[in-house]
């Protein structure tokens, strides 16, 4: 194909109609971008918890030896789980709190299955420290539950945040009673 210099079309126009080539460039670029994004996903997802980590998702715990007022710490999914056998006084305290006083309002009934037992994940919802209050000599904070020494968050006997920088209540893990003194924490994956 030859072009005469006389009949040269102006190379730059103010408004150019999209050509077939523009369309092909655009769709090819978009498809290429999608492909790269799709390839990125396996790499990103490889950093998520692996199958063997997920497989340790369930534990069973015998509660029969825990007297009222005592507590144990179980390890579930590498996290400490606080299980406390509450005394009647503690139960009453937890149940009669004015909801308006709570930064993260939740009734005690919603947080327990059997009101004698409070089961919470023992990780401060602020920045992940382990609150004190499990051992008999530990400080339990101003609300009788748990106290986080890192930044001063205090939780009540239902594991609800009452004071300090933590934004939410201690998390309640999924659990069920197998018998009246045995629980299973976690869900089968």
């Amino acid at each position: 194909m030859t072009t005469s210099p006389k009949k040269k079309a102006p190379i730059r126009q103010e408004k150019k109609e999209p050509t077939r080539r523009d369309f092909l460039t655009l769709t090819a670029t978009a498809m290429g971008g999608l492909g790269v994004a799709a390839m990125a996903w396996p790499f990103i997802n490889s950093m998520n918890p692996a199958a063997d980590v997920l497989a340790q998702a369930v534990i069973e715990i015998d509660l029969s030896s825990i007297e009222p007022g005592q507590a144990i710490t179980a390890v579930w999914q590498e996290k400490p789980v606080f299980i406390r056998h509450r005394t009647p006084v503690e139960i009453k305290e937890a149940e009669t709190v004015d909801m308006a006083l709570l930064p993260d309002p939740e009734t005690d009934q919603k947080r327990v299955i059997d009101s004698q037992w409070i089961v919470v994940v023992g990780i401060c919802t602020h920045l992940g420290c382990i609150p004190l209050g499990q051992k008999s000599g530990d400080p339990k904070g101003n609300y009788g539950g748990w106290f986080c020494p890192c930044h001063g968050s205090a939780y009540d006997t239902s594991g609800r945040i009452r004071q300090g920088p933590a934004p939410t209540n201690l998390a309640v893990p999924p659990y069920e009673f197998l018998t009246s003194t045995q629980i299973r924490i976690g869900k089968e994956v």
């Binding site: 950093m47 998520n48 918890p49 710490t73 999914q77 590498e78 920045l127 420290c129 001063g152 934004p167």
Partner: protein
């Protein structure tokens, strides 16, 4: 004409095909540098040399370190006790990291004092901030590797910062961990990234240097050189000056390594990591304390996290926050005051960050946080408008006459 000696001919032969010698001569030898630079200008090259020192010691440590949650702690003890000169290499790496931050902080403060971020050096400054960010990430992950109590809980607190992000925060944190808490997978990936990031820093340092060589160094009077006489060749004038600084630095580093190798560290990090017991006071490494103080100054989790990140990211917009045409603080009497107050403020923040958030520390921390941000978003723009600057000398010669 006598024949040239063999090595000259060899250099010419190579340079004709691969012009490395031309490049080096251009960048390190003839490179015209303002003749009036003071010792503060040596901290850039010093930072570069420390980067090399950190990478060299790090590679040798990697030959003996085991990034496995079960063996990491004991492999570090193995390096300290059994590996030939392992203690020396590890103490060089540990104390090198702390001194790296001191040197980089001085380098950055020098930039702030002399207005080195101003036109046309905005991108030079921004590349520097990027280096600083990657450096912080690298240092944080490196501190996790010995897998002591402070490693573990520092990692827990810092990664939990991301859980403050609404809705997706929790998933991001578990993705960072590769589990439901900081654990083996976390240690492994931190090791991989701790090894990778210094190479990214080298790449950005390359860009930093390209930007530097484009418009060359700023200088204490903050005006561009006008005559060839205003500059001297980099070699030997500044190679000698920088080498002298390197000597002083080596003395300081040796003093730490041989007389107080754990001065910058926390004793509790010689306790192996225990996921069920939190140490009484979790403190980050000293170079992060001011940011930690800002994090804790806000009585809201998300607010604290946002403010902490803002305290670093505000550096990116400094070239546009400072509207004053005069670069050097030498001719800005008011800016000089707010600058030195800012430096004192950073030290106060560091001191607050090292203490538990109780009593007066809360109030002091909040006031210091307010000043930190006021320096950038209030004083920088306002002083540009209202400050009466002193007369800036018209030339290097005029500046010299003033000082005589």
């Amino acid at each position: 004409m006598a024949k040239q000696p063999i090595h000259t001919r060899l250099v010419k032969w190579i340079d004709y095909r691969l012009p490395v010698f031309t490049f080096l001569s251009h960048a390190l030898e003839k490179y015209p540098t303002p003749r009036n630079l003071n010792y503060l200008w040596s901290f850039g090259s010093l930072a570069g040399i420390i980067l090399v020192l950190m990478m060299a010691t790090g590679i040798f440590l990697a030959m003996h370190y085991d990034p496995n949650a079960q063996y990491a702690f004991s492999s570090v003890e193995h390096i300290m006790r059994d590996v030939n000169y392992g203690w020396l290499i590890r103490y060089l790496h540990m104390n090198g990291a702390s001194l790296f931050f001191i040197v980089v902080y001085i380098h950055m403060l020098r930039g702030l004092y002399y207005g080195s971020y101003k036109k046309p050096r905005e991108l030079l400054w921004i590349m520097g901030v990027v280096i600083f960010l990657i450096m912080m990430a690298t240092a944080f992950m490196g501190y996790v590797l010995p897998w002591g109590q402070m490693s573990f809980w520092g990692a827990t607190v810092i990664t939990n910062l991301f859980s403050a992000i609404p809705i997706i925060g929790e998933s991001i944190v578990s993705w960072l961990w590769g589990g439901f808490a900081v654990g083996g997978p976390t240690l492994n990936r931190f090791y991989a990234l701790h090894y990778l990031f210094p190479f990214l820093i080298v790449a950005i340092v390359g860009l930093h240097l390209i930007a530097l060589h484009q418009h060359r160094s700023n200088n204490p009077i903050g005006i561009e050189p006008t005559k060839p006489k205003d500059c001297v060749p980099f070699h030997p004038f500044y190679t000698i000056k920088d080498l002298f600084c390197l000597g002083v630095f080596a003395l300081v580093l040796s003093a730490f390594i041989f007389f107080m190798p754990n001065f910058f560290g926390e004793a509790v990090n010689y306790d192996p990591a225990n996921p069920l017991v939190t140490p009484a006071h979790i403190v980050p490494e000293w170079y992060f304390l001011p940011y930690y103080a800002i994090l804790r100054a806000v009585p809201s989790k998300l607010g604290g996290v946002v403010l902490m990140f803002a305290s670093v990211f505000v550096l990116f917009v400094v070239p546009w926050l400072d509207t004053c045409k005069v670069k050097s603080a030498r001719y800005r009497p008011l800016y000089r005051i707010v600058f030195w107050t800012f430096l004192a403020d950073c030290i106060v923040l560091g001191w607050v960050g090292a203490n538990p958030p109780e009593g007066y520390f809360i109030l002091i921390g909040r006031l210091a946080t307010v000043y930190y941000f006021a320096f950038f978003v209030l004083f920088m723009p306002l002083l540009g408008k209202f400050e009466r600057t002193l007369p800036v000398p018209e030339s290097f010669d005029a500046a010299k006459r003033c000082r005589l």
